[in-house]
């Protein structure tokens, strides 16, 4: 079937402002949007620029705005979108070129929550014990692939500076890990002015997450943790 892709283009070397270009490609209805982009890049206009790698939704490279929603291009099929598809870069980040945005601020937010296990106690010779129930607490948030779909879907992130859902999800991943010992430092970070309280429970993040992570739920769990750990 034929689809028309309306793609936001921007080349910093020649353009001052982003503009749109349309491409018509012949694809199968069951093809991914990424396949359609590849068609354009490989056979029509090699200068179209976007990130991609795994092509099946596990590396997080190709997060972009597809018909107004943040998606992974490799995880949406053409047939679910219809014959006209608008593709734009993620909101809230500096555009480097076409669909490629500067994710450095995103990773800086991620690093700010100390996303690693902290436990200064000398480890046992074998594994640290953790029950399946304790493990279950971090099942959902440990699925995060850092694709930035959630953060860039959050209206609070568009307009102001805050940690954003993805960083909080990764904070949650360690806060709720029974082996971690840095609860208080993490809570202190997340309790800051630009921490969890900025979240207005808008749920765009949850809707956007391609891994189906209950992002808002995780943020709310962190809020409750701060609330109850406080008193």
């Amino acid at each position: 079937m034929q689809v028309t892709l309306r793609i936001q283009r921007f080349n910093p070397e020649t353009d001052t402002k982003p503009h749109y270009r349309e491409y018509t490609v012949e694809v199968e209805p069951t093809d991914r949007v990424l396949d359609a982009l590849n068609q354009v890049k490989w056979y029509q206009d090699g200068s179209l620029t976007y990130r991609r790698s795994c092509a099946h939704g596990i590396c997080g490279s190709d997060a972009m705005r597809i018909n107004g929603r943040n998606r992974l291009a490799c995880k949406v099929l053409i047939k679910d979108l219809g014959p006209k598809i608008t593709i734009e870069p993620l909101l809230g980040f500096k555009v480097i070129k076409d669909l490629v945005v500067d994710l450095e601020p995103f990773f800086a937010q991620y690093r700010a929550v100390m996303p690693y296990l902290i436990n200064d106690e000398p480890p046992p010779t074998r594994e640290r014990r953790q029950t399946p129930e304790e493990r279950e607490l971090i099942e959902d948030t440990s699925k995060c692939i850092l694709c930035a779909c959630c953060t860039s879907a959050c209206p609070i992130f568009w307009t102001t500076e805050w940690l954003g859902p993805a960083a909080i999800v990764n904070g949650h991943r360690f806060l709720f890990d029974s082996r971690d010992r840095a609860t208080e430092e993490r809570l202190a970070i997340l309790n800051q002015r630009f921490g969890v309280w900025r979240c207005r429970t808008i749920f765009n993040c949850t809707e956007a997450c391609p891994r189906g992570i209950q992002v808002t739920h995780a943020i709310e769990q962190v809020k409750r943790r701060i609330l109850f750990e406080q008193s």
Binding site: F10, P12, D15, K17, P18, R65, N67, G68, R69, E88, P89, L91, G92, F93, K94, V95, V101, D102, E104, P105, F107, A108, Q109, R111, A112, M114, A153, P155, W158, T159, E161, R200, T201, I202, F203, N204, T206, E207, Q214, T216, H217, E220, K223, R224
Partner: protein, 141 residues
């Protein structure tokens, strides 16, 4: 290029790409975003009215003449319609406020995000329609 932990956010100048309020135009809202936008707009709207209301209440202290002279404003049809909208805003805000509080304190609420929003609409209508009925009746009389 990334390095170790950088605790603050660094953001380059936006050469292109949408940031700020303009971003709203480009994002297609699911219900969560709609409910929040309404909550914020109604909250700010009610606040604006409250500020006005404080001023007029202040005039009560200046005696019946001063105050009663002001009351024609309240009885003006435009203002009365405005008040109906205000009440609508307040009711929505109140109902949605309860929804937000539920999400915050009830562990399982996130599973019913959409249902809760529909509930908000239902509660809102249940409260607003009768109130509006009385207000409109008073107005046409």
């Amino acid at each position: 290029m990334t390095t170790g932990t950088v605790p603050t956010q660094e953001r380059g100048p936006a050469t292109a790409g949408t940031r700020g309020i303009a971003a709203y135009r480009g994002y297609r809202p699911p219900v969560g975003m709609l409910s929040w936008a309404l909550h914020r707009i109604t909250g700010l709207g009610v606040l604006l009215f409250l500020l006005l209301h404080i001023v007029d209440i202040f005039l009560v202290g200046y005696g019946p003449e001063t105050f009663n002279e002001l009351l024609f404003i309240y009885r003006h049809p435009v203002f009365r319609i405005g008040e109906i909208i205000l009440v609508a805003g307040l009711y929505y805000h109140a109902a949605n406020g309860v929804r937000i509080i539920l999400i915050d304190f009830w562990e399982k609420a996130y599973r019913f995000e959409r249902q809760l929003f529909y509930g908000v609409i239902a509660v809102f209508l249940a409260g607003f329609l009768p109130t509006a009925f009385f207000m409109i009746r008073a107005m046409v009389r």
